[in-house]
């Protein structure tokens, strides 16, 4: 419990400092002025999105290979975090685009791909919400998750042939890519800050999902036992839970 408080305080301090650095420490952009600052968190959100959705894909495959409940829990936790980060990216993008491009949205490869990616993983979460049987939900949503992940590069390729308005990557482009060294440091800081928030949230969600699955399993067992006629011999419970240990 103590370590959690310290961890949360650290994450909060880091994100506040990252916000401060993005707003005040990084220099003003030569061409775009102040508006470019939103980009620090825009890129950081995308890094988290792709990290999370890759975790979803890995856990989907691992679930089908091993049938361990924890992979299913990790899959849903990462999908939720991924959708949340993707939403941040989809909101910050148009906020930046309106003053700079003059339009909120354009159907170029990267924008379309991420928008569809968001739709696909929202469908993934919706599919999970609409299935009762836990084992079947885990298996079938893993199959859908794999299909969705395979689709992302195809969406990107299908949009590649249209001319793009999205800026080309300038960070990490080598010493002459035209980025102020302070800006580069701030963007790394922002990425780390968002990941430091995202990863504990993901881990917590993963634990909650694990407990939820266990509760569901125990409830089914209780229902099975209470539906038995009186006097029937019952086996010992499959598992007893130490409440203190769980909390």
């Amino acid at each position: 419990m103590k370590s959690r408080i310290i961890g949360s305080a650290f994450a909060a301090a880091l994100i506040i400092f990252a916000g401060y650095a993005a707003l005040y420490i990084a220099p003003v952009d030569m061409r775009q002025g102040q508006i470019y600052r939103i980009f620090f968190f825009h890129l950081a959100a995308w890094v988290s999105t792709f990290t999370a959705l890759t975790i979803v894909f890995v856990s989907n495959i691992s679930y089908l290979a091993t049938r361990r409940q924890r992979w299913d829990s990790l899959g849903v936790a990462a999908a939720e975090v991924g959708v949340a980060c993707c939403t941040i990216g989809l909101i910050t993008g148009p906020l930046w685009a309106k003053p700079v491009w003059g339009i909120w949205w354009t159907w170029d490869a990267r924008l379309t791909t991420t928008f569809l990616m968001w739709l696909l993983y929202v469908s993934y979460l919706m599919l999970r919400g609409l299935m009762e049987d836990p084992r079947r939900r885990a298996t079938l949503s893993a199959v859908f998750g794999i299909f969705a992940f395979l689709d992302v590069p195809l969406v990107y390729m299908s949009n590649r042939l249209f001319p793009t308005q999205h800026p080309q990557p300038v960070f990490f482009g080598g010493p002459n890519s035209g980025v102020d060294p302070t800006m580069a440091k701030v963007i790394v800081l922002c990425m780390i800050a968002v990941l430091v928030i995202m990863i504990p949230v993901l881990i917590d969600r993963y634990k909650v999902e694990g407990m939820r699955a266990e509760v569901e399993e125990l409830r089914q067992e209780v229902e099975l036992r209470t539906s038995q006629p009186a006097g029937t011999h019952l086996d010992a419970p499959a598992r007893t839970v130490n409440v203190k240990e769980v909390l």
Partner: protein, 224 residues
């Protein structure tokens, strides 16, 4: 029993079931025509405009009718638990899936055979000279719709609100297919028709990726 033989037998069963009533096929064709007609009311296109928007409209109609048509594919096995009987049969999971895919492909193709001439008449698009190439694009596009749609029909059949869920799962995944199929069809409908090989290859690639994925994952779809 080989997978091909089992799939052929299951295909026969699906076709027999459908052609007893033809209700699925009739509903699909009528629905597709309704989409095409409503589009004309909504946009009132000139011949040049319909040349421009027509391919998109055509594929939207196929996609929507596909998403409606594919729902019963697995859902109607539920009412009498016939899917359990299929599972118990000594055939591979892929054979069951393949039989359904082939049947659905035939249904969608039949709907297209009706819809494309109707579309050509209503929107004044000349099909002379492009039939062979158009069939190629239609076949490649339909395979993609059917492969993903049949798999998702197997998934959504186990969920609540399954009628609504299937289009929700299927349509976003098919976005790249829609783009490629529309571009390839536009090239064929242009004043100097040609087969756009990039997009045709993309469609073939889409089909191969998802057919392979469904072959690899079919056992998970079929398990109890």
């Amino acid at each position: 029993m080989s997978t091909a033989r089992a799939a052929a037998i299951l295909l026969g069963k699906e076709l027999r079931l459908e052609f007893r009533t033809r209700e699925l096929l009739n509903a699909t064709v009528v629905f597709a025509i309704v989409v095409v007609v409503l589009f004309s009311f909504a946009f009132n296109p000139t011949p040049d405009e319909s040349r421009h928007y027509g391919p998109g409209l055509l594929w939207i109609a196929f996609l929507f009718s596909g998403s409606l048509m594919l729902h019963p594919s697995f859902a109607r096995e539920r009412s009498n638990d016939t899917l359990d009987a299929l599972r118990m049969a000594p055939v591979s999971g892929f054979a069951i899936l393949l039989g359904k895919m082939l049947a659905n492909f035939i249904f969608l193709s039949l709907a297209e055979v009706v819809l494309v001439p109707v579309f050509a008449v209503l929107y004044d698009v000349s099909l002379a000279g492009i039939v062979g190439r158009l069939v190629l694009v239609l076949v490649l596009g339909s395979i993609g719709i059917i492969v993903t749609g049949t798999v998702f029909s197997a998934i959504s059949a186990h969920a609540r609100m399954r009628e609504l869920l299937l289009p929700l799962l299927m349509l976003p995944i098919l976005a790249p297919l829609l783009i490629a199929a529309v571009e390839a069809t536009s090239a064929l409908f242009s004043r100097r028709p040609y087969l756009d090989q990039t997009w045709a290859a993309f469609l073939a690639g889409f089909d191969i990726v998802f057919l392979t994925a469904s072959w690899l994952l079919c056992d998970f779809l079929m398990e109890e």
